[in-house]
Point group: C2
Chain length 184, copies 2
Amino acid sequence: MKENHTPYALLGLMTAGFHTGYEMKQMMDGSLNHFWKISYGQIYPTLKKLVEEGCADVKVTSQEGRPDKKEYIITPSGEEQLRSWLMKPVEDLPVEKNELLLKLFFSRNQEKSVILHQLESYREKLYKKQHTYQSIKEMLLREECPSEDAPFWIITLNYGLATTEAAVEWCEKTKSRIDEMKEE
Amino acid sequence: MKENHTPYALLGLMTAGFHTGYEMKQMMDGSLNHFWKISYGQIYPTLKKLVEEGCADVKVTSQEGRPDKKEYIITPSGEEQLRSWLMKPVEDLPVEKNELLLKLFFSRNQEKSVILHQLESYREKLYKKQHTYQSIKEMLLREECPSEDAPFWIITLNYGLATTEAAVEWCEKTKSRIDEMKEE
DNA sequence: TTTTCCATGTAACCAGTTACATGATTAT
DNA sequence: ATAATCATGTAACTGGTTACATGGAAAA
């Protein structure tokens, strides 16, 4: 049996103060970005389904010149389902499809310079990611009136920072190991 | 434009000495497992397409009582395409959908014990993963007649080991941080 | 004046899994 | 006897993206 976690993500966002599809998308792109992302093409149909299933209510606000604004509020039934999902332990570790590792796996016949270039370009991307995480974290820490959610958001950022740092170190070690290898 | 890397994975496996869909699947489950996996439902149609596109040739061997064995051999054109893919730098860092982080993100109202339990269960899964990687790595290092691919396989394993280790450490730090938090 | 922000939504597509079907051989 | 191994494949489904359509308000 396959689980679909996206509806729970949206219910969770409702409890965190995000009520329109647009706001939820903004939030995801800004802060959940490194471990969860979805497109509008997924968000809007899912919100609709949550209402149909009684997990959320919609309050439609007409706006002149703009499409109706739909604010989704979690229902007691939705809260119940969210809670039970939050308590259920994760059963499968995430499998990331890693294109770089796939390439390295088949790189025996590649020139050293090509491999080193791959690693270098990857490391640069990791640096950028680290900086993004770091600045979000600092922003959260700086805030005068911190959200009650903030400590948990920081925890997830720490995960991103820790694993990215490990990847950076691996890049460096691997580069020097490749350097030492003799060209065949 | 979206890239589909799976055909390249299969071409790569051909160059590494895996020629039937079955062998490729075995290999993936055993060794590429932590950064790439696909099902037969993906493998067989993709192999067919690779032949249609002239990237691979099939040699069909009839076997009594069994389905025909189809051995796929990469063509010069396939080799060329594989090579150019291997040289193209990775443009996007993988985004892993992490269910644990998603749950933590919304865990402000959860009891501490529930959160600690989540972390504990996750850490155990990470341990298991580490042990799997470690034993594959040792097996590769032990081998008397090592494959020429082995050093590169070990590199990818090191990546898994490094990032998993970082995640384990994060688990431990986070657990004690949660412990210190006062229940609201 | 052009871009970005707000705000919703759908249809077509794509990658990939699951469940099913087939069936002999070999090891436990 | 039973399970695992070898070996191929398809149809239905699912989760998700992309491209498109709409259009006013505010900022650059």
